[in-house]
Subunit: 444 residues, 2 copies
Amino acid sequence: MLQFDVTHALPFLPKNWLSSRLDGLTDARNLLERGNGLGGEFTGWVNLPAQFDQREMQRLLHTARIIQSQSEVLVVIGIGGSYLGARAMLELLTSPNYNLLCKKTPQIFFTGNTLSPDAMTELLDYVREKDFSVNVVSKSGNTTEPSVAFLLFRQLLEEKYGREGARDRIFATTDRKEGSLRALANQEGYATFSIPRSIGGRYSALTAAGLLPLAVAGLDIREMLSGAAEAMTALRQPGQDNPAWQYAAARNALYAQGKNIELLACYEPHLRSFGEWWKQLFGESEGKDGQGVFPASVEFTTDLHSMGQYIQEGTRDLFETVVRFTYPLSSCLLDPEPGDGSGLDYLRGKDLRYVNEQARRGTVLAHVAGGVPNLLLTAGERTPFWAGQLVYFFEYACGLSGYLSGLNPFNQPGVEAYKTNMFALLGKPGHEGQRQALADQGLL
Amino acid sequence: MLQFDVTHALPFLPKNWLSSRLDGLTDARNLLERGNGLGGEFTGWVNLPAQFDQREMQRLLHTARIIQSQSEVLVVIGIGGSYLGARAMLELLTSPNYNLLCKKTPQIFFTGNTLSPDAMTELLDYVREKDFSVNVVSKSGNTTEPSVAFLLFRQLLEEKYGREGARDRIFATTDRKEGSLRALANQEGYATFSIPRSIGGRYSALTAAGLLPLAVAGLDIREMLSGAAEAMTALRQPGQDNPAWQYAAARNALYAQGKNIELLACYEPHLRSFGEWWKQLFGESEGKDGQGVFPASVEFTTDLHSMGQYIQEGTRDLFETVVRFTYPLSSCLLDPEPGDGSGLDYLRGKDLRYVNEQARRGTVLAHVAGGVPNLLLTAGERTPFWAGQLVYFFEYACGLSGYLSGLNPFNQPGVEAYKTNMFALLGKPGHEGQRQALADQGLL
């Protein structure tokens, strides 16, 4: 099981940082268990790792093999929670360079998350000469960005393979019954997977939304669910030793003391996209009512040479949470020759994993001395099992943390604001009132 | 010339936001001109675009052709300012997918910026079977991360090509005279380019540090310098219409009102790494003495579905600065067929560039209504000329901004703290005192 270490934040915390929050955490835990808190209708993820439909799992694995056999490229279309979990896990468990390195499995591109004509054209041109399949991920089917991308890639599929052929290359992950994508899939006969209605986008990494692309990449998604299940069993046990309780309490206490910014830090480039997933999870769950810790992410030691100065000596409203793996997968021995000019004689015979770990330890000492509390989450290895644990840990801690703050961790009312204006500007039917309001202000 | 628009921040600014800062800006401008402010010995970048040595330029272009002809891969070794400018410009002007798309020019990988054994092993394995060259970028030659990577890639080059052959594939960008990398390059006879002593890492994007990799990618680096020169001429003119003065004054005024976090936002995925470059530039220049705006970056509309909720309704200490191009390079016409189920009938005949622009406009309205001041910087096209303008604009504005805040925008004293501890933990000679101190605390 994951280890959580609060030692290097204690100098910044009051003695009762945890004890004073045990009642609140107990309440939060019970709200998650019973699904009767704010947004309780979206707590289907809590029990998901134990309840995953085994026939759905078999269909996922079977479909992944079909996609592998017929595709050089899989285009995943989705925005927000519909792609961030899959991309985070893909890069964590393979590499940020997966598309350059994959040999036996299809390349995977994430789109439907931008309106940039340059980015869209680039990918359309890239797959035009390749055999490709599409996994469109949208709970409602109404979101503009994935709808636009699906329109374009579906048209390209139909050009290449005809309408019948295209049908065999489109895989829709959507609501079981409702929404425009479900209707279209039923009409066209696409293979489909469902996102349970009780699971919101940012909590959907362990549903088909996250798992199908990962299975196509050849990753063991059953192991991922096993890891998540182990975390689930451990984290649902109430008590002050619970690492999710400790994390939720510590960040709540740090925020109460004016630590407004949390940096998710890692020492592996593989975790960079994980930071983006984590930022949505916490930012969207807690950034409301004019409150919330601002989530940012850094990759060390890389960013110690860009953000390091600010972290060490800038405005003192930061704390950092490090995600660390005990065992890197590779060994990389340093063997400088005497007089080779490298200046690294003192590292002779050392493995880079040792150097990286001393960099982490040295950084903790430096940042704590500089006034930055440090929380540490340690996983075993960079494998699907541990990745599943990490996902569940942060989901569960986020749910606890939201309820501990007295808010609804499962809604995102603010996401509509830009859409409303955009639709009005674009003249979308149903937005005539807002369009008139903009016209009256001379904004059309 | 770049256009700067403060309109959507004015509701949050006092009337005298600019006029009250004109004296300070005049002083800041004069300190930059005369090089007699704090850190004035590092203002060599101010006049660089007009002074770029034309023989050095010819050597850069010539060397780029050599690297192109002998390499499938160029490995760029550098950390912080030694790689962020080159990577930002490469992705901005080609694509984040450059390494997948490049056909006539070498793939380019950036390393020497991590101690991860997994990342290092991955790249070593990747280039082992390829013809590759190395551009090692380090002003001093003493920084641990690039030294480690250079050791490993140099050993691999010598294995593949012999010691003589390796020499023809190593290109060092370093100080003109001093430092261990300069000494080694002289001893081994590597081709070298210099980083002027008067230019610090984060201001070095327009030196050989940034330009050589870009020339290898086939980009017109002379155009980039032309753009920078145009910006230089415009921005060194004092006055309240100067866009760099306006940007420096606006962010200074917003910070004074408690806007602690600046989001650099864009609507093109190509700008994501540009955000990382910008974060170093401002974070390292201003994050000191317990002060400074925290720099973060977002890519829209992508991140409106992850960070959008927080930006719209979270803690109200944000402002955002959008970098926009008037003309995207591609056209992407939307042509939904009636009844195709896309729900996009209202976009028929529209180009995606129009949709993306309405998304930007709608987002500004939403964020301003939500309490987030919006600054807008508009460039013409995503070309080397305009990229050079952008780089110079932000460098110059950062210098102004630092002096306006009364600090030294050119040092980074806090970057040493983690290194000191790391060296002590690793037993590097010269760090025995700190090592003993750690031992006394039981930290070894």
